[in-house]
């Protein structure tokens, strides 16, 4: 699972009002190279919760993202490269996603988060 997907996911257990961001428990992560497309990044930027991306990347040992970001930075190639790497090339392979409100743990195996809810969570 890429951090792009992590940045979109929110816990939807019944009654949870703030299920974002899911905390990452990283046992294993992998890097996969992806073609760079600055238009996509510029388009995506407005939808990204920056803080969550910074923290998620950090949990995989990637510290290059600036703490704060605004759209003026999209003119910098250097910034875009880092954004690209964090968003699309870092994958959570084994570990878990943890709901920030309930602490519920969604296990991640072979890169696939198990988001199935228990009966009483629906």
């Amino acid at each position: 699972m890429r951090l792009l997907t992590h940045n979109m996911l929110s816990c939807n257990i019944k009654g949870v009002t703030n299920g974002f961001p899911l905390r990452l428990e990283v046992e294993k992560f992998v890097e996969k190279e992806v073609e760079f497309n600055s238009d996509f990044l510029k388009n995506m930027f407005v939808k990204i919760e920056w803080k969550a991306l910074v923290n998620a990347a950090r949990s995989m040992g990637y510290e290059e993202l600036p703490e704060e970001a605004d759209s003026s930075m999209l003119d910098s190639d250097e910034f875009l490269k880092k954004f690209h790497h964090a968003l699309l090339e870092l994958h959570l392979e084994e570990g878990a996603l943890i709901c920030p409100e309930t602490g519920r743990r969604f296990p991640v195996n072979k890169g696939i988060p198990n988001m199935l809810l228990h009966e009483d969570e629906v």
Binding site: M1, R2, L4, T5, M8, L9, S10, C11, N12, G19, F20, N37, D39, F40, N43, M44, K47, E49, L88, K110, G111, I112, P113, N114, M115, L116, L117, E119, V122
Partner: protein, 292 residues
């Protein structure tokens, strides 16, 4: 035995390892699913600007439908309830991210972040079933469409290719989509052919506008092969219900109910569509005794 898999077992059981492999290695199936996905992507009507979008593939299975999205340069997140199907997707090294998730429990995404969604041969089949005692199809449809509506960007579309079992089922699905706030309707390609006939629910997020008008189906004007056109069968056209505020059609039912003739006609229509319909007998449409 029915040829409809959803009537045989719940999806996570039906699509076990063996079935997932069989499904994905059939060249007939891969070809059909690729075609359906191409058409669904076309109906999504994304702006023609070569910009990669972030799309959902709901009931992505082994990634046959998602592959079409990748080929067209898009990023996608696929979700499916069958681990076996997702395992095959992993083996095939699909480019999308995968989630093990039950759409009937609602989709867990932030609001307004997704640029479009497709679902190929997954929604009706399984969502309308009550596989467990805790399954209420209505609640599941409501959770699904409500969460789908919320996670889509305003103006974004969802295109769901479906094989409804009957008209009532399609109406049920559409009804929940409309209640969630979607505008749109059904596009039927090749309505006159029982074999190539394909249905897509084309749903737009947000208030009705020009962009929510339902496009035409393919092959609509073709010569019909067997159907008599005069029957005015509304199912044989693109059915647009973008106008949600039209008055409900008055139901023409007499005191005695709809009567044998009406039932026979409906059964004939369903047969022509290739549905399995019980034979007509002297009991057909006979009134039941009121005893409980």
């Amino acid at each position: 035995m029915s040829s409809r898999p959803e009537l045989q077992a719940p999806p996570e059981i039906f699509y076990n390892d063996a079935e997932a492999r069989k499904y994905t290695s059939s060249s007939r199936i891969t070809e059909i699913q690729a075609k359906l996905s191409e058409r669904a992507l076309e109906l999504l009507a994304l702006p023609n600007d070569d910009m990669p979008r972030l799309l959902l593939d709901i009931g992505c299975g082994s990634g046959l439908s998602g592959e079409t999205l990748s080929e067209n340069g898009h990023h996608w997140i696929g979700l499916d309830i069958s681990q076996s199907m997702l395992n095959v997707a992993l083996e095939r090294e699909v480019e999308g991210d995968l989630l093990l998730s039950d759409m009937g429990q609602g989709l867990g995404f932030r609001d307004g972040v997704i640029d479009g969604a497709i679902s190929i041969s997954a929604v009706q089949q399984w969502l309308c079933n009550a596989d467990k005692s805790c399954h209420n199809p209505r609640l599941r449809l409501k959770a699904f469409f409500g969460s789908l509506y919320r996670c889509l960007a305003r103006g974004a579309r969802a295109v769901l290719q479906v094989y409804p079992e009957n008209i009532a089922q399609r109406e049920l699905i559409l009804g929940f989509a409309m209640r969630a706030g979607f505008a749109g309707g059904v596009v039927v390609d090749f309505p006159h052919s029982s074999k190539s006939r394909k249905e897509y629910l084309v749903l737009t997020c947000g208030p009705p506008s020009i962009s929510t008008a339902v496009p035409n189906g393919k092959g609509e004007d073709e010569e019909s092969c067997s159907d008599d056109e005069s029957s005015g069968d509304e199912e044989n056209q693109t059915v647009s219900i973008s106008d949600r505020h039209r008055p409900r059609k008055k139901q023409k039912i007499g005191k005695k109910g709809r009567g044998r003739e009406w039932v026979l006609k409906k059964k004939e229509q369903m047969r022509r569509k290739g549905n399995v319909v019980p034979p007509d007998t002297k009991y057909t449409a006979r009134k039941r005794k009121d005893r409980f």
